[in-house]
């Protein structure tokens, strides 16, 4: 059974599914209760579950994330809303120094079953301070898991998995896609972490992305088929840590060419890691360098024309694929 739902509805459904099964699941964050949530993900939940399970917090990302870590250490399962991931630098000490490591430096005496979720990435003219894609930043640290679902079905299923995971999970939502629709399985559709998804099969070149750039790659794949007769395979990584190297490598062994696309900045980004992995594990299969497409190396600008220029475009992706295929760019 599957129904068409928005990303927003599916995400909320995942949380509600676990709240109904497990009293230890609580939600925390700024304006998630009385206000209804800035992105309306949690709208109405305070009425249903009460203020002890849907906890409105002051504007203190470090403090309430730290408190949630403490709760998790005692067996609660907090789901913290970072109103946007842009504010998470203020909680980064708690996330990196405590959540990611306390299990290790306690010699395994505690677990931190914590989810921190919120919209990641830009696209709606929020400018420099409100536009970041932080998957590489958090993905760097052992102890954390980092996921980035793009379909409504995945966002529900991965939220269910995230809440059940006994480790801290950085849950990066495609903020620009809250309103997009897709089929969502009813009930428990838990999606395992660490398994990439082949979003489109193809034989000529592999396009690798995650989050909303997956949709961009799918559009680019269509264009490549129409304009160049090229069959692109599109891989949705879904999970940044753990990371599914096998699916990538298998695809490149078939296609011999790869393009990796990210909204984030190029340097030390996910695309760099993908390129490094492919050249390492599929060196002999590669017929061309792995091409990277990234955001422009500037803080995000406000003006619409500049913003559009700053993010990866379909044209950049198709041209990167063409370079990998040694055919002329358009």
């Amino acid at each position: 059974m599957a129904e068409t739902k928005t990303y927003r509805e599916a995400l909320r459904e995942g949380m509600v599914h676990e709240m109904d099964q497990d009293e230890s699941v609580v939600l925390m964050g700024e304006d998630i209760g009385v206000y209804g949530g800035t992105h309306l993900i949690t709208d109405g939940l305070i009425d249903e579950y009460g203020p002890k399970r849907v906890i409105d917090t002051p504007i203190s990302e470090g403090g309430f994330t730290g408190a949630a870590i403490g709760m998790a250490m005692l067996g609660m399962k907090p789901v913290v809303e970072m109103m946007t991931w842009n504010f998470s630098f203020l909680a980064s000490d708690q996330i990196i120094q405590n959540a990611a490591k306390v299990r290790y430096f306690s010699g395994g005496q505690v677990e931190v079953p914590l989810v921190i979720r919120g919209p990641n990435g830009g696209g709606v003219q929020l400018s420099a301070q409100h536009t970041h894609s932080l998957e590489n930043l958090y993905g760097h640290f052992p102890g954390l898991k980092v996921v980035s679902p793009v379909t409504p079905n995945d966002v529900k299923g991965m939220m269910i998995t995230a809440i059940r995971d006994p480790n801290p999970v950085i849950f990066l939502e495609a903020g620009a896609l809250y309103g997009t629709k897709g089929e969502v399985e009813e009930g428990d559709n838990a999606v395992e972490f660490g398994k990439a998804r082949v979003a489109r099969e193809g034989s000529d070149v592999t396009l690798i992305a995650y989050g909303r750039q997956v949709n961009l790659c799918l559009r680019a794949a269509n264009t490549l088929e129409e304009e160049d007769g090229v069959q692109a395979e599109v891989i949705d990584l879904r999970s940044i840590r753990p990371f599914d190297e096998d699916t990538l490598v298998r695809s490149v062994e078939k296609t011999h060419r790869a393009v990796t696309v990210q909204e984030q900045w190029r340097w030390f980004g996910v695309a760099s890691e993908v390129a490094a992995i492919i050249q390492e594990k599929a060196f002999d299969s590669l017929d061309a360098p792995v091409q990277r497409v990234s955001g422009a190396e500037v803080p995000a600008p406000y003006a619409r024309n500049l913003e559009l220029e700053a993010f990866p475009s379909e044209k950049q992706v198709t041209n990167a694929a063409r370079r990998a295929l040694y055919i002329e760019e358009k």
């Binding site: 206000y35 002051p58 409100h130 190396e297 406000y302 024309n305």
Partner: protein, 346 residues
């Protein structure tokens, strides 16, 4: 900001000259007209991103910037249009910024939340709640270090007080103030809500001025709907801070009658009646009544001011609308200072 000021011997509020009040009224009406035009621009899709207007709070910045002297610095969060207008930035450039145009005051790169006019003392416009507070304290230190008598006017919201950045910066200010190295006037714009969270739901101790006791910073409160009261505090405290090099904090009680942001429609967190009650204390309405009562202005004068303001803002909107988007190459400028303008792509 040239009108004469009258202070009582004892620093108490005294009647302000009519001419000056009319001038201030004019400024507040302009701000209001500007903000209403912004809301319209947002609905029309001409303004993107986040938009936070100042409606209901006009007397605060108007009153304090009245005491601004050349060389002083103003820093605030994202609710920053009024501050730019009061410091003298052309409304055209402010509106063009919001419209994302190359003629905007920061070339269309920042938008509503990031207004800067460094020449006039506006040091920004910041989007991370609390994040600008340490900067303002740093300005204050620098200005003393450089041997000037300038001060920082540092505006912050009630919501920002819960943030660690506030705490650390206020503590530094108190400490540096002991040596006269921190001429910083903290102006808490307590509009009673941080987004949808009332002050009571943000902290167990709601006396925001008194929070500065923890840092050894003297503090007081003022009614932010009464421009004369604000003026009195502003004049007195600005000079005190300037003289002593010590920080001071003033909690200004006000209310935003507009929603938090332009995209915030529901306002489930407060009652319509509450908004209505506060509208009765609208700072522009109160001052208008006072002007009429004291024969400082008649209905005709009021109408004239209002229609002049509308016209001024209409011109700004027209200018913004007709301006060009930034050149696409502007994407890559202003990342790094200096000859190299390195952008990370060798």
């Amino acid at each position: 900001m040239s009108a004469e000021k009258e202070h009582s011997e004892h620093g108490g509020a005294v009647a302000t000259s009519s001419e000056r009040l009319v001038d201030l009224y004019k400024k507040m009406v302009e701000i209001r007209a500007f903000e209403e035009a912004c809301q319209k621009g947002f609905r029309q899709g001409k303004i993107g991103g986040y938009l936070h207007v100042y409606i209901g709070q006009e007397a605060v910045a108007t009153g304090f910037i009245d005491s601004f002297k050349e060389g002083d610095k103003v820093i605030t969060a994202y609710r920053d249009h009024a501050h730019a207008l009061l410091l003298g930035t052309d409304p055209k450039e402010v509106m063009a910024e919001l419209y994302g145009k190359g003629t905007g005051m920061v070339k269309g790169k920042g938008g509503s939340m990031h207004l800067f006019d460094v020449e006039r003392g506006l040091m920004g416009g910041y989007g991370i709640v609390g994040g600008h507070i340490p900067l303002g304290v740093g300005f204050a230190y620098a200005m003393r270090y450089q041997g000037t008598d300038h001060i920082t006017q540092l505006y912050l919201g009630d919501g920002a007080i819960s943030n660690g950045a506030f705490h650390e910066a206020a503590n530094l200010a108190g400490l540096w103030g002991k040596d006269g190295m921190c001429p910083c006037l903290f102006i808490i714009e307590n509009n009673q809500y941080g987004m949808g969270t009332s002050v009571e739901r943000t902290t167990a101790m709601t006396d925001l001025a008194a929070k500065f006791d923890a840092y050894g910073i003297e503090n007081e409160k003022v009614d932010g709907m009464d421009i004369e009261a604000v003026l009195e505090s502003a004049g007195r405290l600005t000079e005190q801070v300037r003289e002593t090099g010590k920080p001071y904090a003033i909690e200004v009680l006000t209310y935003r009658t507009a929603p938090h942001g332009a995209a915030d429609f529901f306002e489930k967190y407060r009652e319509k009646e509450e908004i209505e009650e506060w509208r009765k204390r609208d700072p522009i309405g109160l001052l208008e009544q006072k002007l009429l009562d004291n024969d400082a202005a008649d209905e005709e004068k009021i109408d004239e001011i209002r229609s002049e303001a509308k016209e001024l803002i209409a011109e700004a909107v027209k200018f913004a609308d007709e301006s060009e988007e930034p050149e696409i190459d502007e994407l890559y400028t202003d990342v790094y200072a200096g000859a190299d303008e390195y952008t990370g792509e060798e």
